[in-house]
Symmetry: D2
Subunit: 242 residues, 4 copies
């Protein structure tokens, strides 16, 4: 068991409008992600969604969140800039952030990356394989060399991100593309993990390997209590110039 | 000689208002930086400043610029957001960007880094040493293990940037601090170099080693004609799921 | 409390020969490092030294070691190549390795880095400051922006290592140098941390901040149970060419 | 035209023994690689092979080589350790090194990486696609988002290398694997590029995109005249402790 406090944020629009998504995630993608975390011993999981006041991400909620997960897709533009800045500040101050799938194009991810976050994509439900390229990394804990997702949307390179501080997974697609699908970034006092699987029409978040990766990522991204940035004056005597 | 087209952008406010700065840079910091580049064989140098229309950075100017240098300090807030986005888009599309000294806190650098870009600072005119930690890097070309700046403002860690894609210089300060003073970042199709020396009251940009570093950085940051991002459809036959 | 199994390896020659070292570490540097770990809740600490059979690093000992610490200086050449290869293989298979101070020039560190591991040095007992440049990293946990070592040997750049996968500490020296003093490397399934403080004539390993860093590093370097490398055959049907 | 002095080293055994290889490279793989470089304006190309005295890599040859290319496969064990150390020293002193295909398992590459350099492999002549993941890098100059190799040996992850300082290409294989096929490493004063295409039974080194990558890599890896490592004494007055 762990005392890490997780908030799973979901746009939660597809699940109210699209039959194919409702069939897979009737109570929302966030609840299935949360169930996966609970099954891995993460006890403190709360949810927040776009249509709540302040998108459910008040200063209080963020202050009590160690790791925030982010799933969004069709309504990135509806997220208020002020909330994006609030989340960004909290990440730089130490809160972990796990951005899932189409969240690559969310305001918060683009804000923290500083790049286009563009990618190629294709929806044909093709086969995907997630290969581990960094077996020493804690996010790879307990996972095999590769695992399969039977049917998924293709995401392809070039992916418009900064080179990850550590690359953990590279994904293969049946149709001929590759994708850096598991990427770690350290930013300020915070840790960010981007993980590409998770299209809303496929039951990705029920899959055991996916749940393992996300649970590992939550543990990796939980904040440390490291150094605080403070300004002091000189440490050695200096003779100022006139 | 090289055909790299450089634009040196300068805020150009200190040099109109502050006696100590006028004494060092009567015609503006940008002209001295430009003179240094010309002395290193960079023939095509133009200038742009904050108080020109569109800050001198029209779409035409940027389209004809291979590498943009950026010096700003007291008026970061006066740079229009629209121009910042225009420059950011051009960098991600391949234009090199060299950010100097207090430009660490410019809108364009913070926009592209996605982090606080905070640092410690102290103005006492103390001694600084710039140490090379990556002798294989082209920006270190022709430079010794270290060189000195006799009097400079201190910039200290923690510096709120992403971990550089390559760290080239680490600076030592007489008063007891260190600073990652020469940092390379690849972003999209563009290359970014941050170089910390250059306080406006010291004749830093006349110093031969500084001029060497900046000329090296211009050559490193010049765009290649690498791959363009385009979206195609599938490369292998896929049987779609129903 | 943690169940991480640590082995502290020490050359253990200075402490038998040099009065100044005996005065600081009468029972060996390794025991003081071990005491520091125990004070941080690491219960399982054993020791191994150069003059034991197989340098105390039998296959059995290594198989039961999660993290190995390495201190050596005057007798690097006496370490048998066969044992070096045994340790290297174990690191690549997942055992953490923490290399301390003059261990930068040990056979095992040079073997795993592939580079010269050269550095500048000077023994005058000058002041050193250890600055954190990556506050998000778990090895920085609980530490301030910087801490001081009152008297220490100088280690200076250029340091002949691969660029670290993550740089955590940069050290300042009174005499004018800087040094990348806290460096993380992922190699195979193993994690390596180099930490520069620890000259044998100064009571470095009694210092609380040093003990904190080493304890943090032990936790960071402990192996995960991530993917195993195995060879399989094809995953998709391929029509072989004739 | 460029004045970079290139030496192409080839094991040159397959081409004397195996019919299928002789059919593709009757004069040796090295001559075809050299022809590709000459077609890209690299005028100074010489060759060296395993069965020459000192494998053709005398101190004189290495001193006059700016960039060394390395192709080996069936006789890695026949390369003398002394020559390996000579090449390694020259790389750390600034000579560029480009390791091709099965050279991943050469003594020189393993020596400089410090890791296993293991990978998965399968010979079925399947389709491969080389994707660029870092369009800003000079080795990607002039290349499209991806290019195809119609028939090639599969190389798959996990690839037992240090995380590259810059990852340029990731390769897709028809049979279901991915591979980090274009990897940059800075080591000492030298630059190393590993490029995976080049199995001896396929006419890979005649392919225009492959020739472009190798020519780009030669330009990238050519040495700079950066800082030399030298030891000095103190730069600031220090009061030694007694």
């Amino acid at each position: 068991m762990t005392s890490i406090r997780v908030t799973v944020w979901n746009e939660f629009r597809h699940e109210k409008q699209h039959e194919r998504v409702i069939a897979v995630y009737p109570d929302g993608i966030h609840t299935v992600i949360g169930d996966g975390l609970k099954a891995h011993g993460v006890e403190s999981v709360r949810y927040a969604t776009l249509d709540e006041p302040e998108h459910g991400l008040t200063a209080e909620v963020l202050a009590e969140t160690d790791v925030l997960l982010w799933w969004g897709h069709m309504a990135h533009g509806d997220v208020q800039d002020e909330i994006v800045e609030r989340v960004a500040a909290r990440v730089l101050d130490g809160m972990g952030l796990i951005v899932l799938h189409s969240g690559h194009y969310s305001k918060i991810f683009k804000r923290l990356m500083g790049t286009s976050c563009d990618l190629k994509w294709r929806e044909m439900g093709e086969r995907e394989r997630v290969w581990c390229v960094n077996p020493a990394h804690p996010i790879a804990e307990g996972l095999p060399d590769y695992f399969e997702i039977p049917h998924h949307e293709m995401y392809g390179e070039p992916f418009g991100i900064p080179e990850p501080d550590t690359l953990v997974f590279v994904n293969w697609f049946q149709g001929g593309e590759v994708f850096r699908g598991g990427c770690c970034f350290l930013r300020g006092r915070g840790k960010i993990f981007y993980f590409s699987p998770g299209h809303e029409t496929h039951p990705i978040y029920f899959q055991p390997e996916i749940r393992q990766v996300i649970a590992n990522a939550v543990h990796w991204a939980a904040p440390t209590n490291g150094p605080r940035i403070f300004v002091e004056n000189r440490k050695e005597p200096i003779e100022p110039i006139s």
